[in-house]
Symmetry: C2
């Protein structure tokens, strides 16, 4: 029995110390990160600024098309408020991944953005996004980077 | 001595098994990831397709503006070849982060893209990007996701 215990301990050390950790033994919670993304989308689509901001890291950056990078909570807050005022944005993440250390993850998917042009006509933009998530000390995931761009040709919509 | 060894083993198991790992004790190699990004940029800017593709994960996706998401090595190869044929692209990453497990990381920075419009006039686009990197079994970092968009107003350049 003693030798079995020692062998088990050595095996455990080897498994823990070697990279990569065997995947599947302890599944990474990608489904839960997709659920967080869906909760963020719900707050954003409902244009609840405070609830949407609660999903953003203090050091968050957003890469919106046709504007320089936006960094930090104050700038992110203004950008999201402006976006909510001008556009009806919805999205759906269909891919996700998480680091084995569970401190960094990503989601990616598609968005639909409706807005009015200068003449008041409703236009629809379709595009895609990549979101980087950082796990906080309290275990919650918050958006660290967000980048999106249109699928449509330059002249559209 | 024997008890010291056992204590050391128990401590080692605890350190390896518990999350989060103490940060700072073993600095994350963000500088080396920035160096990988710079090497990729060099291959890309030199329009060496094979060398540029060597930095791409087999499952890589690229989010180029004004086109649907591009996924998989064959589609990525075609997209990069088309980009090299039409544009002179250079970039510089100025931020990076790495998961504690060192299997996922990101870089972000700015790009300059020169191209000719329909009349043959050289135009310059300035923008930003977010790149997600996945560490391979052999220890190399490869691009898993890349998203970029312009800083310029819609009507430019």
């Amino acid at each position: 029995m003693g030798s079995h215990v020692r062998l088990g301990t050595a095996l455990l050390i080897t498994l823990l110390a070697s990279a990569p950790v065997v995947e599947g033994a302890d599944p990474l919670p990608t489904a839960s990160l997709l659920a967080v993304d869906a909760d963020w989308e719900q707050a954003y689509a409902a244009k609840n600024l405070n609830n949407a901001l609660a999903f953003c890291d203090d050091e968050a950056s957003m890469l919106f098309p046709n504007a320089p990078i936006i960094s930090g909570k104050a700038a992110v807050s203004k950008a999201i408020a402006d976006d909510m005022a001008s556009n009806d944005l919805t999205w759906h993440a269909n891919r996700a991944g998480i680091a084995r250390s569970r401190d960094l993850g990503y989601t990616s998917g598609v968005y639909v953005m409706k807005f009015k042009d200068a003449s008041g006509k409703v236009k629809v933009d379709n595009g895609k996004f990549l979101t980087l998530w950082k796990r906080q000390a309290d275990g919650t995931w918050k958006m660290l980077y967000e980048a999106a761009n249109s699928d449509l040709p330059v002249s559209s919509p």
